[in-house]
């Protein structure tokens, strides 16, 4: 596995997993995962339902205790409360308050991150095109609009590390393109972005993919590399090929 990918700045990796594992009873949700992720890149976690993508992100963000191993973000061993100031996490569920208005939600999360500038709230709402709905109660928004608000709340503090758990589910194609170009601009600015998805056509937008299956990273590389290695033009086929190899290796 190419764990020696060069960071643009050349420094230490932004995110590091060392023998990371999480068990729920007999289920190995995350099973001995080790990797380094460098800044300025977008990483895609790709895997079927229940493969452990969310659990892996939660471990990296220090939101749940690892059964074994540990995670480091920006040089700090997680969980680290002060490091959370520099992490944005868009959860798989929307995680916004339905009884608050769009703007109140954004302001609330801004205060949680210690951001006081009104500009940050404005900018984030503009980014997700919800500025004109600022007074609407969040509970009255459409599913896609709530997803957009959820993203706005995750980036309100301009974090250098961003975890996005299926960020584009329910978002229309046009806005999806805008989301990705925004992610790209953040990465170009030096941010490290981890996006989970099971939409394979979004995978091409990531710099590097990590195939997740049954809690393990079964392959890592760019979309092109992985397809080449699997000898197929279709990413889905590539996933199945690697999954088959992993099964055979047991």
């Amino acid at each position: 596995m190419p764990t020696d990918a060069m960071s643009p700045g050349g420094g230490a990796p932004a995110i590091r997993a060392v023998g990371l594992a999480k068990r729920f009873g007999l289920i190995r949700a995350v099973d001995d995962v080790t990797f380094d992720l460098v800044s300025g890149r977008i990483y895609g976690l790709l895997g079927p339902n229940g493969s452990g993508k969310t659990t892996l992100i939660r471990l990296l963000a220090g939101l749940t205790h690892a059964t074994a191993g540990h995670a480091e973000v920006l040089g700090a061993t997680m969980p680290s409360r002060t490091t959370l100031e520099r992490i944005g996490y868009m959860t798989q569920s929307d995680g916004v308050y339905p009884a608050l208005s769009v703007e109140e939600n954004a302001r609330f999360f801004a205060s949680m991150y210690g951001v006081s500038a009104d500009g940050a709230v404005e900018e984030s709402l503009a980014l997700v095109e919800l500025a004109d709905r600022r007074r609407s109660l969040t509970g009255t928004l459409s599913g896609g609009q709530r997803r957009r608000l959820s993203l706005a709340c995750a980036v309100i503090h301009r974090p250098p590390v961003l975890f996005l758990d299926e960020p584009t589910v329910g978002v229309d194609p046009l806005l999806r393109v805008q989301f990705w170009s925004y992610f790209r601009s953040l990465a170009d600015g030096g941010a490290t972005i981890v996006v989970s998805s099971h939409v394979m056509d979004e995978a091409d937008r990531c710099d590097e993919l990590l195939f997740v299956r049954a809690g393990k990273i079964i392959a890592r590389g760019s979309s092109r590399e992985l397809r080449d290695r699997a000898g197929t033009t279709d990413l889905e086929q590539a996933f199945l090929r690697f999954a088959g190899d992993a099964e055979a290796a047991r």
Binding site: T91, Y97, A99, L100, M112, Y113, C153
Partner: protein, 381 residues
Amino acid sequence: MSRRRTIALFRRVAQEIRRDRPSIALLFIAPIVITGLVTFILREGQTPQVDAVIVNMAATPGSVYTSALTTALEAEGATVTTAPDVVTAESMVADHTATVVIVLPAGLGQRGAPTITVITNGMDPSGEGSQVAAASKALVSVASSITGITPPTIVHETVYGTPSSDPITNFAPALVAFFAYFFVYILTGVSFLRERTGGTLERLMATPVTRGEIVGGYTLGFGVFAMIQVALIMTWVLGTIRVPSIGPIPEFSVGLGISVAGNPLLAYVVVILAAMGAVSLGIFLSTFARTELQVIQFIPIVIVPQFLLSGVLFPVATLPELLQPLSFVMPLSYAVDGLRQVFIRGADLSVTALQVDLLVLTGFAILFAVVASRTIRRDVA
């Protein structure tokens, strides 16, 4: 602990409650309706009608008794009939054509104290107490008129003054404490559960917020509403505003006008301290609930025992010995006692019993807050 974050949390919680109409109704209207209802029942409750049946098995001396008893009972508003035997009389009580049977035994009028049997239906023990009381009262007055010995008059006083003839005085403090505690618990429990199940807690835990700030923000948020609620209940319970008669509606007064011997502000402090504990209790118990219904299901486990064991209904001293220690670990006991100290005894801060109540309530509030904050980082499923 960041003040900014705590205040942002407080504002958010307050905004959520403000927009939740049913909760507002629960907080502000329900206690007023219920205290009003209880007061009305206790003050205006009917004394049950006494319909006595006398069974005379003592021939002539019995007839003297019967007519004297009839006079005494009728003087108190009872109706009196006679029956030839106990079986007939009992069937009258069973059929609800009479409420109480008084059996004058065959040996009446001979030497020695007679045993007079009083029979009631047995379906409603507390209501029948007044039937027995009415019968004994009439019997005592008959005995004294026959023997010529006048029984003494008994006057009841208490160390804090003459007991109020208002039956609600003793009950009101307990009700006030109970409502503040109960409603704050339910609202916090449900609202924190929403935080857990709605994915916002997960999100919140991904920010630099501390558990203490969360508990602090919630306590402030619900605390403010509890303060408004308690102020409203106290005004309602203690106040009297006369509304003059309008047309066919007779004059009536708003507010229960219950007398308070001490400083109402002190009573206020007692209730607020209890409510603060209830916020943390709600957060803590929401850990064990998966749905909002389950928060409600904790009521019989957590709230009802407090209601039974904290002296709201039964004085702690009359509880079985086995249960008494339990009442000492229940915050509501101290709130109820503290309020009674202020309402009835007129206690001020120099009274040790009240000092203990305030201290223990503060202790509980702090203890629950610590326990609640410990449970927050628990993995959300």
